[in-house]
């Protein structure tokens, strides 16, 4: 089956939708141009409807044959909640991509992937690409609790998986960095680390690997607007210099990243985000039990 990448027919239709947990859904979207170009580390910008905002989401999977791309969205605010309420057969108004610079895939030896929460979904294609490039892949997957763990089987198909949960409901109780420290203490060979998850987690992953000198890369998640390099809203400080995460990243050297500035910048619209979500949930009967 071939797809006309210059046609706009049927674009951005959700051909398959699966709920992975009460707040996390997987969307398989028809977007043939993106499907033929996607590489591990790319992201797309989604917009649900007129008046909607532009949201960056990392690509989890893609199929040039079917002309589809797959994203996994966690309901954390108004737009993501609204997107996860989409049904199979409905369409996003806009999907732009693939955007960003793909991760450089090479043979490091042993690659450790550290994913937190919905970041596991974003880690998966990268870990898969490293596996295909001949690396041994070890993963640490962290979540608040068991029901927020996703893609455990997929990650396990790539190599050894260590699971940690905050409440101990799956794997070992504790943080991903506890599992990291154990690997280091056991003298295991780790040649590079790729981490995706909450900013605070990535920051501590970087701190845990810094004394060992292991090359460590984090997929940064600043606020984005256009995602094409024209506004600088997503600027992050790497080695003291401003970089645009949307075109230069989103994957950067974690040991050179100013995580504190990133944390503060992502909080810039917290009040507005809260107001928007409250207004939405008041108008819509909450389907997913967030409130």
């Amino acid at each position: 089956m071939s797809h006309d990448i210059y046609s706009s027919e049927g674009l951005y239709r959700i051909v398959e939708k699966t709920d992975l947990s009460p707040t996390v859904s997987k969307h398989v979207i028809y977007a043939p141009l993106i499907a033929v170009k996607a590489k591990a580390g790319h992201f797309v910008i989604l917009r649900s409807r007129e008046g909607g905002e532009r949201i960056p989401v990392t690509l989890v999977d893609w199929s040039p044959e079917n002309g589809t791309v797959t994203v996994i969205i966690q309901s954390i605010g108004k737009s993501t909640t609204e997107m996860n309420a989409f049904k199979q057969g409905e369409s996003f108004l806009d999907v732009a991509g693939p955007l960003g610079t793909p991760v450089e895939i090479k043979n490091w030896g042993t690659v450790l992937g550290v994913g937190g929460g919905v970041g596991i979904a974003e880690l998966y294609p990268i870990a898969r690409a490293f596996k295909e490039a001949g690396n041994e892949v070890v993963s640490i997957l962290g979540a608040r609790s068991k029901d927020l763990l996703i893609l455990q089987d997929e990650m396990a198909s790539l190599g050894r998986v260590l699971v940690t949960t905050d409440d101990g409901s799956a794997g070992r109780k504790g943080l991903v960095t506890d599992a990291m420290k154990e690997l280091y203490a056991a003298g295991e060979k780790i040649d590079a680390i790729f981490t995706i998850g909450p900013i605070v987690m990535m920051k501590f992953v970087a701190e845990a690997s810094r004394p060992h000198g292991t090359p460590t890369f984090a997929s940064l998640n600043p606020i984005m607007l256009d995602g094409t390099g024209m506004c600088g809203g997503c600027r992050v400080e790497i080695a003291g210099k401003p970089k645009f995460a949307c075109v230069d990243g989103p994957m950067f050297d974690a040991h050179q990243t100013n995580f504190d500035q990133l944390t503060k910048r992502t909080a810039a619209y917290r009040e507005s985000e809260k107001e928007s979500l409250e207004r939405y949930t008041k108008d819509h009967k909450c389907r997913i039990g967030l409130h």
């Binding site: 008046g51 905002e53 390099g229 503060k264 507005s272």
Partner: protein, 472 residues
């Protein structure tokens, strides 16, 4: 119209059209300049001498047939007047609003010195608006299909002009846009109070009716490369603009509340953040807004910010009022709306609170020294003049460089030291065969009208190449 003045009557009062009251417009995003009604337009048109030498027409970058269309306005034949303009430009409602006529057609009007020039821009705008609202506009006919395919990268003024010209000549044109709306700076940059979006959409739709294909959400350079486009199209035009914001270079630019003008204007103009939470995109400006810069983008940013209801908007410019690059009309409008201008002032450091939000701006005073390379007197920092401005947000509007994505991903494409694409004068040819470029990606941040002029010139060169069996 009864009691119509005889033509020509140059001494009738030079009419600049009606404007929305400053107090009222501070609270809305509706158009500030209200333009003419039919009677005002006909009366203004009556002033035109219909010069045989047409100095106005020669001065127009796209050579609109000015005396002829103005005469048709006088005759109240607005459909014919619109068609007359269409012979050389398909975007009269846009150009009539955003072109700085005072430096082109109206500067050369023979009435200018003695009576004030004919308000050509206002008449062009009136013609387009009247014809649009009354259904008098029919898209111009296109030549039979030539079988040649052209890709235009970007949907700003340069690409739109290329698309219009080449489609009229019978070529198949596809326009690629990275954002979700078409128009480039006409959509994300220029505020609605200067350019209503229905005008942009109408003129884009007209190209669609002529058969131009528009694809959104495609960032050429990432999603598709120029090399890939070259395989599928006979010629490619790069009109990707100057959308790379120049940083201030002051410490503290990473604080929350510090915006590039591109981000701030995109939030409001493209995403409709001024209507949050009805629209989902938020903005943050706080009580005191500082804008840095002196061009039209700085004025647009300051006036947009003013409409979000802060206590104050202060614009910092490092030279004096005489050197302000913004149009005089926009500066006047900004002042009327309450924007404060601080001249000979530059920010040197941005300071934040414990949450990482901007709190105050450390500034210094300047004096003008000797002229620099651009011929303007260089601002020289003065010692011991530091002072602080309290600010919750700051918009940096000190210029834009060419969008870099295509240059970085197109091997062999020659660029200058600012990252602008180098083209052959007059033909718009780049260093790569079959690839053309124009507008801000070549010039750096310039004007809508120069971009359209570039587009028209490029279309002529591309047509010549395509018709001679060339292209690929």
């Amino acid at each position: 119209m009864e009691n119509k003045p005889k033509k020509p009557t140059p001494s009738l009062k030079h009419n600049l059209g009606r404007h929305q009251d400053p107090a009222a417009r501070r609270g809305n995003y509706d158009e500030v300049a209200l333009g003419f009604n039919l009677e005002e337009a006909v009366t203004e048109a009556a002033r035109c001498l219909g010069c045989k030498t047409k100095p106005c027409e020669l001065a127009c970058p796209v050579n609109i047939k000015i005396p002829e269309f103005v005469d048709l306005v006088y005759k109240e034949d607005l459909g014919a007047a619109a068609s007359k303009i269409f012979e050389t430009s398909l975007f009269p409602a846009i150009c009539g609003r955003v072109c700085p006529q005072e430096t082109y057609c109206e500067l050369h009007c023979v009435l200018r010195e003695k009576f004030g020039p004919v308000s050509i821009g206002r008449l062009e705008r009136f013609t387009a608006d009247y014809a649009r609202k009354n259904g008098l506009i029919t898209p111009p006919p296109c030549a039979p299909d030539t079988g040649k395919k052209v890709a235009c990268v970007g949907s700003g003024p340069a690409s739109l002009a290329v698309a219009a010209e080449l489609r009229k000549l019978g070529h198949a044109v596809t326009v690629f846009e990275a954002l979700h709306e078409f128009g480039g700076v006409l959509s994300y940059g220029i505020p609605t109070f200067r350019l209503p979006r229905e005008v942009v959409r109408f003129e884009v739709d007209m190209l669609r009716k002529m058969g131009v294909r528009f694809l959104k959400n495609v960032l050429v350079g990432k999603a598709l490369t120029i090399e890939e486009l070259k395989k599928d199209f006979d010629a490619v035009y790069i009109g990707s603009g100057a959308g790379l914001p120049s940083p201030l270079g002051a410490a503290g630019e990473g604080l929350a509340g510090v915006y590039s003008s591109n981000e701030f204007l995109t939030r409001v103009n493209l995403m409709g953040a001024h209507k949050f939470p009805e629209n989902d995109t938020p903005y943050y400006i706080g009580k005191r807004v500082v804008v840095v810069g002196g061009g039209n983008t700085a004025m647009d940013s300051a006036r947009c910010a003013m409409r979000l209801g802060p206590e104050s908007v202060t614009l910092l410019y490092r030279r004096t009022r005489a050197e302000l690059p913004a149009r005089a009309e926009e500066v006047e409008n900004a002042l009327e709306e309450g924007v404060k201008l601080e001249f000979l002032t530059a920010p040197v450091q941005l300071e934040g609170d414990e949450r990482g939000r901007l709190k105050r701006v450390k500034c210094i005073r300047m004096e003008l020294g000797l002229p620099d390379a651009s011929g303007r007197r260089r601002p020289v920092p003065q010692d011991n003049t530091e002072f602080y401005l309290e600010a919750d947000s700051l918009v940096v509007a000190i210029g834009q460089g060419p969008n870099p994505v295509i240059q970085q991903t197109t091997p062999g494409l020659a660029t200058n030291k600012w990252g602008g694409i180098i083209v052959e004068e007059g033909t718009a040819k780049t260093s790569l065969d079959g690839i053309y470029a124009g507008g801000d990606v070549v010039r750096g941040g310039a004007t809508v009208l120069l971009a359209m002029k570039d587009g028209k010139a490029a279309a002529r060169a591309m047509h010549e190449k395509l018709s001679s069996g060339g292209g690929k």
